[in-house]
């Protein structure tokens, strides 16, 4: 039983961690390229989840098409939000913080007005699988695969494509990138849209394995923030940070601490990591 409990913790910790990583990379991208803390990130995730639920209920299209449609809509909304609002303040750090927080409030309250405060979930009904005596749903395995594949694809996109390299160039030195013929405005807009898409992808994965309500976006932002800070905007580190957080959360609260401390674990890790990093820099 102890072996089974440990395996359960590790497996579910890995699944949660990969989802945290997916959530964190969107925020890390915004921070890395545009140097902004995008507080609307959680709201895009929730918006994607609600769009999936309402589109599948109203259009009755195949699930894959509904997934793509939800992502496309959130991508367009993200792009629109950037062009109309964020672009105007993107050079002022404090203004972007307030603006993206405002965006989050607007999106969350619109969802609340349209859908009400009910908590919703979306079941894929894919059945279960037993791994070493631990039962796990195929839906969880599927979203883990999606999360890992998305992060890997994003990594390759940034490394191998012209557009990705342009984004990295803008992140490194915006003026030099401009002199090389890259339009930073377009790169920023595209980066923000990709962040919204990643948020949406997380939302779609999350609602099929967990739940959503309009109020959850703040909590998602916090988790994403921990991953982003730990990774320092690096995608590979974001993946490692996310999985580490997931594993620590499940194993520590399964065997060491009461479950009431579950959400304290990531922030304790964050504080420890920041303290060590700061000390190293001083030395």
């Amino acid at each position: 039983m102890a072996y089974e409990a440990l395996l359960t913790s590790l497996l579910y910790g890995f699944i949660e961690g990969s989802l945290y990583a997916l959530l964190g990379v969107g925020l890390a991208l915004a921070l890395g390229v545009m140097k902004i803390v995008n507080l609307a990130h959680g709201a895009f995730a929730v918006l994607g989840a609600y769009l999936l639920i309402s589109l599948s209920a109203s259009l009755h299209l195949p699930l894959f098409i509904t997934f793509l449609l939800s992502m496309a809509l959130v991508g367009v909304i993200g792009l629109g939000a950037y062009i109309i609002v964020v672009d105007k303040v993107v050079v002022h750090e404090l203004s972007t913080l307030v603006t993206t927080y405002g965006l989050e409030l607007i999106i969350a309250n619109l969802i609340l007005s349209i859908y009400g405060g009910a908590t919703l979930t979306y079941s894929l009904g894919l059945g279960t699988l037993s791994i070493g005596g631990v039962v796990v749903g195929f839906d969880r395995l599927l979203v883990t695969s999606i999360a890992l594949a998305s992060i890997l694809s994003l990594h390759l996109f940034l490394k191998k494509t012209y557009l990705g390299r342009a984004m990295r160039a803008v992140a490194d030195d915006i003026e030099a990138a401009g002199l090389m013929g890259i339009n930073p405005k377009k790169i920023y807009a595209m980066s923000y849209a990709i962040c919204a898409l990643l948020g949406c992808l997380f939302g779609l994965s999350f609602v099929t394995t967990h739940y959503v309500n309009p109020m959850i976006s703040g909590l998602l932002n916090l988790k994403a923030f921990v991953v982003t800070v730990l990774s320092g905007g690096n995608l590979v580190l974001a993946l490692i940070a996310g999985i580490t957080l997931g594993l620590c959360e499940t194993t520590i609260t399964s065997f060491v601490l009461p479950t009431a401390y579950q959400n304290i674990v990531p922030f304790t890790i964050l504080l420890i990591a920041l303290t060590i990093l700061k000390r190293k820099r001083r030395l």
Binding site: T8, G117, S123, V135, H210
Partner: protein, 465 residues
Amino acid sequence: MVLVPPPVVKIRREEGVNFLSFLPLSTFLEEGDVIEKKLKYLVIAIVAIVAAAVSLGVYYTAYVPMPVKAKEEILIGYPVHLSGAYAYEGTYILHGVILAVEDINAKGGVYVREYGKKLPLKLIYEDTASDVEKTKMIVEKMITVDKVDLLIPPYGSTFGLATLPITEQYKKFTVGWSASAEERYTAGYKYAFDICTVNGLYSGVYFAGNIGFLAHYKEWLPPGAPPPLTVAILAHNAAYGRCAADVMEYLINRYGVQKVVLKELYDPKTTDFSPLITKIRSIRPDVVIFCGTAAGYLNFYKQVADMKVKEVKMWFPSNWYPEHIATLGWDRLQYFFDEQYWIEYKNPRSQALVKRADERWPGRYHELAWFASGYDAVYLMAQAVEKAGSLDPDALRTVMLTQTLDSILYGNITFTPQGYPFVPKYEERVPVRQVIGQRLVIVWPPHLKEGDVVYPPPWDKKYGI
């Protein structure tokens, strides 16, 4: 004839104080703008007239007594959650309130001895958007501006604890399903009466029926089945969850039939319940009682079903909402229990009321206690007013504390000085239901029973293991 141009006033900002500078008009003018002198006198005249009108208004409002209008109706205010997180409960309570007002008005209203006639009820309600600050403002406005005679408090401990000090300050008589957290009963409110009952120590309406049912297992246990002897209590780490967990433990210990082997609080923001489920699987309790928020219920039971937890014989959430069933599906909930707080709901009177409400608001599920509590709020207020013969809050309080009243939820009830109903043997009268097939079947108490308990549940059949 020589035409003389009218004299002009020139605005010169650099000169400092200008004759018109105290008027907002001057702020719209630029240096060098010209104003007709006549306009200056016109503006002064308008200001004088407005000032005189305001002074007269203030004088009449403050010093001239208004003629007293004869009482024509009893105004009831209800700050209701129609949107936001508590819209679900708020909507059902409002349906109950509306039906009760209509029923009483159909009989001509409430007889009030001090006016010597029957007065109809008039209901005013306003959406709180499930926002505490907005709710407080609405309550204050209903009391001071709308001048309601009676008030139904907003649903939920957070809202009750925030607004009851206001209603007490204005001595406003309130009846409704409001706060059930411990602080509400120790605050010593005089004019606030709650429909939510308490059990043992303090707030214990939720889960009490489950515990009464468990304690009497010898009456429903199938021959040869292993009895449920160990209990795990899981609750969200918030004021209400902690309170509910304490009450559950208290009741279990009082009966002394089962043993609490795990009492664990979880963070209400938890999105992953696998650590909690891992603990349950390690301890293997016979019974798990889960007290949480709607998000917690959905996520926890979704994960329990996903992980095919077969070690537990009985799962008790507090109450299945139709939206939970629709979201999770009957299959995932199969053999799980709940309790129906409306202890009189099999009564023909209650059934007729539910039928009427279902017809009036199709697509809703009015068997919930929230609906009955809304009806009772108005029904109890009307009885109190008739018995007191007055709308005086002290007279109404005396009636509530000294007389037996009739209610839809509990039948005959009396109230304690702390303002909650005393319902004898509550935990042995609450219907307990089990999900069997596509129905919630009442399996307890014996006089309401619709079917036998499925125990232990055939998890092997359900999960295919």
